[in-house]
Symmetry: C2
Subunit: 418 residues, 2 copies
Amino acid sequence: MVGKKIPRSPLAPEHFPKLAEIAELGLNVFETGSRYRGRDDLLVITLPAKASIAGVFTKSSMPSAAVDLCKEHLSQSKGRVRAIIINAGIANAFTGKQGQASAETVTAACASLLGVEPHHVYMASTGVIGEDLDPSPLVSAMMSGLDKSEDNQDWLSAAEAICTTDTFAKGATGAAKFGKHRVSINVIAKGSGMVAPDMATMLAFGFTDAAIPAGLLQKIIRDINEESFNAITVDGDTSTSDTLLFCATGEKPLGGAALRSVNDPRLAAFKKELKRIMQDAAIQVASDGEGASKLMTIEVSGAANDASARKIALAIGNSPLVKTAVAGEDANWGRIVMAVGKSGERADRDLLNIKIGGHHVARKGRAINGYDETLVAAHMREARIKLEINVGVGKGRARVWACDLTHGYISINADYRS
Amino acid sequence: MVGKKIPRSPLAPEHFPKLAEIAELGLNVFETGSRYRGRDDLLVITLPAKASIAGVFTKSSMPSAAVDLCKEHLSQSKGRVRAIIINAGIANAFTGKQGQASAETVTAACASLLGVEPHHVYMASTGVIGEDLDPSPLVSAMMSGLDKSEDNQDWLSAAEAICTTDTFAKGATGAAKFGKHRVSINVIAKGSGMVAPDMATMLAFGFTDAAIPAGLLQKIIRDINEESFNAITVDGDTSTSDTLLFCATGEKPLGGAALRSVNDPRLAAFKKELKRIMQDAAIQVASDGEGASKLMTIEVSGAANDASARKIALAIGNSPLVKTAVAGEDANWGRIVMAVGKSGERADRDLLNIKIGGHHVARKGRAINGYDETLVAAHMREARIKLEINVGVGKGRARVWACDLTHGYISINADYRS
């Protein structure tokens, strides 16, 4: 697939946003030639000594070497961080002890160049599975110079360096009140195909200049991740390498009493803006699903609980029959009924309500006689499709984002050999 | 989709097998014009008074009216049966109380025409979801004449009358020793797309002239179903209407002491042949998956238990990335690793072994250096692909059959409006 040009997703934002400068953070991009030619494929982010880090990882039982390493370093360092290394092209997954050694070699070399503890350096890898990652070109590149300064933070180049089959670089940004300060929040991400261990995986890296202790940061990120990166699906497949790392550089303290709880009202504005930014980035990932032509927002209500609503919403978002119906601009709500039924979650067939684009098409377990099909058909021709389903058994709610399933997905994944 | 000609699956058997005559069984086909034109779309099978019946149904929480009716009649009749009615074109699913009334009207009319109890008549419907089933054309057709005799059993016409998007009629047959007798076993089935509530669903009907009490028959069918119709997948979607009904006409008694256990050694030959026939029919259904170009046999071993092995095998068989790799003739075992990892089941990454077409490609969590890729590539070009995975944690085993995911699936499900 290397070298094959995939057209830019029709769902891509018009341009990459202007991300804020974050003091004492360095962005270093390199062209290692490991797998790609003529493009940057290595990003090294450096952070100040007072920075904290939180991480959320794939639930796959076959995690990549980098995922194992991050989990170990997070635990050993108690949430300290001085650098994150991301390479694109080779996932270093299913590579056994040799893969583990490669990841350790690269992070140790970086630590040595920066003069920091090895377990304060993290790594994420994306690309082809089962191929050994030669550490040499990565180490050579880093030796050519790591810029620790915050000058000229080129976030677009950083976001581009971590892409694989992505058709556009993904970034989101914003600012929030944090005590007396106004803090910045930046997220860059990649992923196209929720996954596709062959080439794509979801990686996201977030940064703020706020000071948040690692323990609290971990809880905040884990919660918001459920409603953002964990609420999107492209093909239901789960990568060996999915990684979200979030760092707080600590430049801007909250002031006042020490932070002890994620529910501290002084964190409210920050958490709200962080959620908006993480959802923005997550939706960009779903919008770049392989072959995606439409983005679905699926809202399930009336479920036994929120977790059940989420499972139902994902069953709809992952159903090949729902996804192909959306691709075909067919308001085939029968397939939504099927997907609810197969979710295994509690739902009352005879109370099921379905809205498409805000228009009621089924109520109390039956199609609505004579609903205005032209309005629904017009909505189905849009790029952003909204499905609302009430399953009639409780108060559980969830929202997920998914893309459609098109010939483009088959072309990317079947027609070209890896 | 009605009227659109889908090419015959390249995996179809050369011809429909010659099914055995079963005494006192009547096959009646009718053209009702309910949805299709110029083809039979109604099959009524009549059975003698001494026949017993067993049934297995979709686990969907949104079952069709016919599924609800069958479950009720099975329970009320304690496994007695005089007729089975199958209509193609309209699934009578998600049609509320009116749907229930339609199914009851049709079965009651049939019972009246045959002079039997209404709850001795069963029904299965397949076709479009959410559309009301008008009972009139079905009742009118049956009134034109139900032939209760066993003469001229045209199994091919019967199998054709229940098809929807199927590209070929499905039948399997055989015979087994049963006490002093040799008994026949016939199965007809339809389904293309494990499902596709829009048009396709899996229905299977089996018949033998052996005498087997309904309670035992139910246990035998439920067990063998797990290793046949429940061991295939096309797209992982689950129909509202999936139904397997199996009838024993009772003509040929076993003799000797009454049957009390499914483990009675006198049943061994029958069960073995029944399993072979049900697997044959199930594989025909998987082979007619929408757009299928290749059939995968997926064997998982080394799992924590058989149920876990089955979940892993289905995770592989349902993975869009595995299915597209197979469609693209790409021996992309990295996607198999991914699917094992996402299954949620116990597996040891560092002990994982993978064979493709009998050739080892990965062992102990790593690709095998220098395995003969040409042999594996040659296997991938065949129509029948074999994947063997040992996950290294126990003795659980399972085998499932699945088809690939091609442009044909997208064309059938997205390019044409229902």
